[in-house]
């Protein structure tokens, strides 16, 4: 498997008042194509900071970020934007849909930015919404949808351009357990199709779905473990279909 994303000595320090606060203190991380990596850790450990740096939404104080063999942490905002639209997709905890556009238009946005024409973009967007089970909401306003539905729209938007990497920052953090389960199922489906995923989460169930769990504490990686293949489980109260 090839290396898709690599962080070397990633550091982010905030100058607040007297003493600078290190949110990340030298993180090395490698993500291969097709991997599902979960980042866990107590709040304040630097999960979101790490994701923001890897996504180009923030600039590191020190260290390097390499995407597919080229260095990206020094690119201009404009170049980063162009990179993001083609190669990255985001899912945020609070959905971050644009409220003045319809659901379908939110999903069409990255497609249009990547150069697709209006009608093909609309078709693709609607197809994705159908696949995610919310095709009937295509012309609704985001505010009219439930949390779980909004997150599915966000996921559709993230997957629209078939990006190299989908980054999720607490994607189930704002959902009830039923919706969280649905979204997790969709992430699993995407992963099964070969999508590389990097998800920061405090939901153990999301982490359990990943191939690899990276634990951060105080801005440093303390554990980086692959999970093993699942073992079979016999469930009581379960009639044997055979």
């Amino acid at each position: 498997m090839s290396v898709l994303l690599e962080a070397r000595g990633l550091t982010r320090t905030y100058d607040s008042g007297a003493a600078p606060v290190p949110a990340l203190a030298g993180v090395d991380l490698t993500i291969e194509r097709g991997e599902f990596v979960a980042v866990m850790g107590p709040s304040g450990c630097g999960k979101s900071t790490l994701l923001n740096l890897l996504a180009g939404l923030d600039r590191p104080s020190a260290g390097e970020v390499w995407l597919d063999g080229s260095r990206v942490d020094r690119l201009s905002e404009t170049a980063l934007a162009r990179l993001r639209r083609r190669r990255l997709g985001f899912v945020f905890q609070f959905f971050n849909l644009l409220p003045m556009l319809t659901v379908s238009e939110n999903v069409e946005l990255p497609l249009l930015l990547a150069g697709k024409r209006r009608r093909p973009a609309r078709r693709t967007a609607r197809r994705m919404l159908e696949e995610l089970g919310i095709g009937d909401k295509a012309d609704a306003a985001p505010g009219q949808l439930s949390g779980g539905q909004q997150q599915r729209v966000a996921l559709a938007r993230a997957l629209a351009n078939q990006p190299d990497l989908v980054i999720g920052d607490e994607p189930t953090g704002n959902l009830d357990s039923a919706s969280a389960g649905e979204v997790l199922g969709l992430l699993r489906t995407a992963h099964a199709r070969g999508q590389t995923l990097l998800v920061a989460t405090h939901d153990a169930r999301v982490a359990a779905a990943a191939d690899r769990v990276v634990t951060l504490r105080d801005g440093r990686v303390t554990r980086d473990r692959h999970l093993e293949a699942s073992r079979p489980v016999t469930l009581p109260f379960d009639p044997d279909p055979a």
Binding site: A81, F94, L109
Partner: protein, 583 residues
Amino acid sequence: MTRTLVRLAFAGLRSRLLATALTVLLAGAATTTLVLVLEVRETGRDPWQRTFEAAHGAHVLANVPTSAAAQALRALDGVTESDDPVPETTIELTTSRSSEPLRVRGVSGRPAVNTPIATSGTADPGDGVVLERSMARALGLTAGDRLRLSGPGGEQEVVVAGTAIVPSQSRYPRANPGIGWVALSTMERLQPDQSAWRWAEALRVRDPASARFVADSVLAGAAPGTVSVQTWQEQRDDALKDAQPLQLILSMYTLILLAVVFAVVGILVGARVLEQNREIGLLKAVGLTPAQVTAVFVIESATLGLVATVLGYAAGTALAPRLAGAMAETMIEPPATAADPAHLLVAGLPVLLVLVLSTWAAARRRTRASVLNALQSRQALPHHRSLLARVARALPLGVPLHVGIRSLLAGRARVVLLTASISLTGSAIVFALSMQAALDDRPAGEPSDVPVELPALVYTLDGVLLLVALTALVAIALLSVRERLHDFGILKAVGLTPRQVASTLVSPFAVLAGLAGVVSVPLGLALYVAVYAAAGGEGDPVVAPWSWLLAVPVGTVLLVLLATTVPARVATRSPAVEALRLE
């Protein structure tokens, strides 16, 4: 409870200084304008009355062919006072620049009735001439200047002994020819043929209200067409007509300025309430009823309004005398007016009402929304199904423009108010351009019908309007940026470049400005034609040429680009993560 509400209100004001200051400034400007209108209107009548008193004016002024006929009028029923008839004739006045007809009155000593009042130099012509003040100003003459008078009897070089005003003569060149006073001997020399003279007889009557009857009896006693009579009421109305174009234009600009100011205040107030959306949710969660939350905002606005109206009133009363003086060309300068406290009420009340009502309307809408709604959402539900949104969707607009227009449409009241403000300002510019074109159209040397201060006044008022509009635009741009900061973060995350993100703010404003600018052209032309007709202009007015008119929409777009580009660029320069952190 009330004290808590008041304290909350003041905290709110402190936290948003820019918008607060701007609201006070604009509301103050509106109050000043209203105060000016009120004060100037009152001082309009007064100067003429004072001039009439000071000049011992003629209740009835008759113009007859012979001295004997004039003398006969002095015995009419009801006449209490009169003096010897004053001869007048028309000669030519020549300066280094031009040559004009001049109607001179031959005086020997001061007439008892309808006495000219000296405004510079002396009212006694001596060997020279005393010119009526507005004519002297129009021709650029002052006391001491030399000019040539010429008539059938010969020419004479004379010195301007002074300028004077008289209640029976209105402004030159509307009253054409202008008048002047010379010594009787000078007049005899210039026009020896006394049969060409006319005689003016100034009469004062016992009952001024009956002046019309006396005038009618003058006409009755003479052959038709040989005699002309003017009552004091007609003199007054004629004199006040001088002020009419100015007053019309002032009224028009007042209305435009008030409309623009109120529109902008409406926008600022709406934005303020919008920004406080989360605060509203928190206040309600803490236990305030919707009515109490609305009350907090209303108290804020009322406070602002009070401060603004007091300041505006002070400015207005300070400026009023200067403005009134400009309009009293043919009358005595009005004395320093004591500030009328009633005007504070009359001017302040509409401004206060506009502030309070627009706040109340905006706040009520927001506080009615559920607590959760206010805490979670930042904007009103967009109107996807509105006609404009559908038009925007159908057109092949680029991504930034489309996103920007949809953002703009989410606040439709603001769009309407902004378009109205820009259109009105543009129409005032069109008005000024048309006026300038009319002035330019006159043949050189001919003194214009238009009072001298009018262009200066119009340009000054246009300048004020432009300043207000520009300031408002910058403020609204800054407000919009602040409101959309979170959306900017999302757009950046999705992959819009910083320039594209800035464009989502700037381009819809530019489109709006272009449309509003185009609308302002017919609007301004209509205004100009209407004012021209109302001011008694004859025929088809000359309007600004197409090339000038084109400059208005173009200029509007450029100005709006100027106002919005810098705030947008600054906002989009920060990394996306900062914007996304806001909620």
